[in-house]
Amino acid sequence: MRSLSLRISLTLAASQLALLALATAFAYAIGDRVLTDQFDQDLAARAAAYRALVEQEGTRVGIDGREALALAASAPRELVQIWGPGGHRLFRSAELGERSLPKPRGDVGAVSIAETTFEGKAVRILAVRGEVARVEKSLWSGKAGESAVIAMAIARDSAELRRARAGLLTGLLGGAAVLLVSAVLLARWSARRGLAPLRSFGREVGALDVETLGGSFDPAQHPCELEPVVAGLNDLRGRVDRALRREKRMNATLAHEFRTPISELRAMTSVALQDPSDADFTRRALEQVHRVSGRMAELLGLIRQLVHLAREEPEPALEDVDLGELVAELRPGLQELADARGLCLADGGLDGARVRANRAALASVCANLLGNAVLYAPQGSTVRYGVRSDAGGVVLGVSNPCHDLSADQVERLTEPFWRGSTSRSDPDRHGLGLSIASEMAALAGLGLRLSLRDATFVAEVLFPGAGLVSGPCGPAAR
């Protein structure tokens, strides 16, 4: 069942049906009891009347039973039989003829009422044995004024009681049916009304598109039960929007990155084709075309590498890596550039520092971070690197003085194609190095943290957990 509203309506209706059934049964039981009691009280009253008559008339009640017969005749659907102290028949209704009602047995004073069949008819019989005071007119033996035990059975056709019960049942069932229909309708209405905010929220979510994704749902406009969902969706919207924007920006930048070299190729070849006899320019154009196309191929390679890294890749194999040894391998190339720029490369202590990592990925990340530091540090300044222990593991830090980056710009450094300068005048910089380093670090399970502290740019590689196998753990480069 896909409709939540219908599901709730049916659940409510089923509960209400069960409650109604119980209530109807309970009401019927009470009603039946009341009707039966009433019937039985009536029988008891009749028995009391007969008893009074016996006390008054004694044995005459059977011999000259006009009053008894009149009493019996007042209830035509009633059969009465009275037995005297000796068990002889004292009185019985004319309708009984030669038939006899069951004679009551048991203790004196005991009254029993039972539902049974008599002569094929459902009757309710009151049976009683009781003492009656003797009277003068009594023909019973014994002294006047002494009591005698008589037995009495009064049977009354219970059709009236059954009809009353049937009426009660019909009334209750009818009422229950009306209540049930009302309850179902009410449940349906309540469910729809109760679920209206959810439907409204669903419509709001359904109406989301790329343009509106950046906003957020107002928690105050939605029921508190939906607050976690609203908060979760808002968070998700924010993340998806940021990812989309980043993707869009990257696509735009990607297109942009190729526009300039394509323009260069087209302009060069167009001018060369205008005058093929200009051999010098044609050769120059061919050289430029070769260079530009090489640059484009390099850019494509970097993009391919980035896309490759961004995909789900199998976890790279980990090994013990000697950080000192790894950086020492990179150092000659770095030192050359550092010397050219008058920089000092300060080793904050890497010897013997061993971490558990993927060597190739770590080498790529370190080469990028150290290369950037040497390239962008102000001339004559110092680039520092070192390892330190951190609460969460081990940190390899690379730092250099930096005066031309803001905190906002640092946040965008790992964004593909982002460059501090808007100019593309340095064709050898594509703005992909840190993006690739970041992806590479993520792939190798390492963290990469870039920050700006007191005009110093700090890049840190985080080795989670017990990354450091052995080695120094002093203060890292800052």
């Binding site: 526009r259 300039t260 087209r266 167009s270």
Partner: protein, 223 residues
């Protein structure tokens, strides 16, 4: 026609410099915004071709500063930024045209020519000067349907005088529009060019079209 190109790609600079010079256009090329702004402020360019993403001062800032200083230089933005908002921003900042990279060289020339015509309040690319017809789009001068063989420099000189037909144009003015800042013409370069133009016109029976105004310069007299 004299054009300033502010573009930081050395390859594009080289290609456009060659292409424009073949068209007889005096092109000054500069790679950064601040230097370009200084050139644009101090020289009488017909058109400025401006890249947006420049080192130092970016193209939009160059444009805004020019307009703020009251310059009516015709500016064509030549950029890789293709988003509508960029185009709108550029045009709203005072650019006269916007061309997105990659572009066709012919289209760039055509747009630059159109902007130059606009500067001289001409809409028709064909000018009629006496018996001569000057097709500024094809960069060709004809007499009775027969083309005159002019060098790019002679064509540029004739075109400039034709745009200012009837006006006395000084030598310095002509020099400013025929030569870029990197080209230092000899002191009589303008006179020599005028002389060469006159002799080619005379060979086709067109005399006294380019007249000398003593102490002022030259005037193209079509009557």
């Amino acid at each position: 026609m004299r054009v300033l190109l502010i573009e930081d790609s050395p390859v594009l600079q080289e290609a456009l410099a060659k292409g424009f010079s073949r068209q007889g256009v005096a092109l000054d090329v500069v790679g950064d915004g601040a230097a370009g702004l200084a050139l644009a402020r101090n020289n009488p360019y017909d058109v400025l071709v401006l890249d947006l993403m420049l080192p130092g001062l970016d193209g939009m800032s160059v444009l805004r500063e020019l307009r703020a200083a009251g310059s009516d230089l015709h500016v064509l933005i030549l950029t890789a930024r293709d988003a509508v908002e960029h185009r709108v921003d550029g045009l709203r900042a005072g650019a006269d045209d916007y061309l997105i990279k990659p572009f066709e060289l012919d289209e760039l020339f055509a747009r630059v020519q159109a902007l130059a015509r606009r500067k001289y309040r001409r809409k028709d690319p064909t000018l009629r000067i006496g018996p001569l017809t000057l097709d500024t789009a094809a960069r060709r001068v004809t007499k009775d349907g027969e083309p005159l063989e002019l060098t790019p420099r002679e064509y540029a000189l004739f075109e400039y005088l034709a745009y200012r037909c009837g006006e006395a144009v000084s030598r310095i003015d002509i020099e400013d529009h025929l030569y870029g800042t990197t080209h230092l013409p000899s002191s009589n370069a303008v006179d020599a060019a005028v002389c060469a133009l006159r002799s080619k016109l005379a060979r086709r029976g067109v005399r006294d079209l380019v007249k000398t105004r003593r102490g002022v310069g030259y005037v193209l007299d079509s009557e």
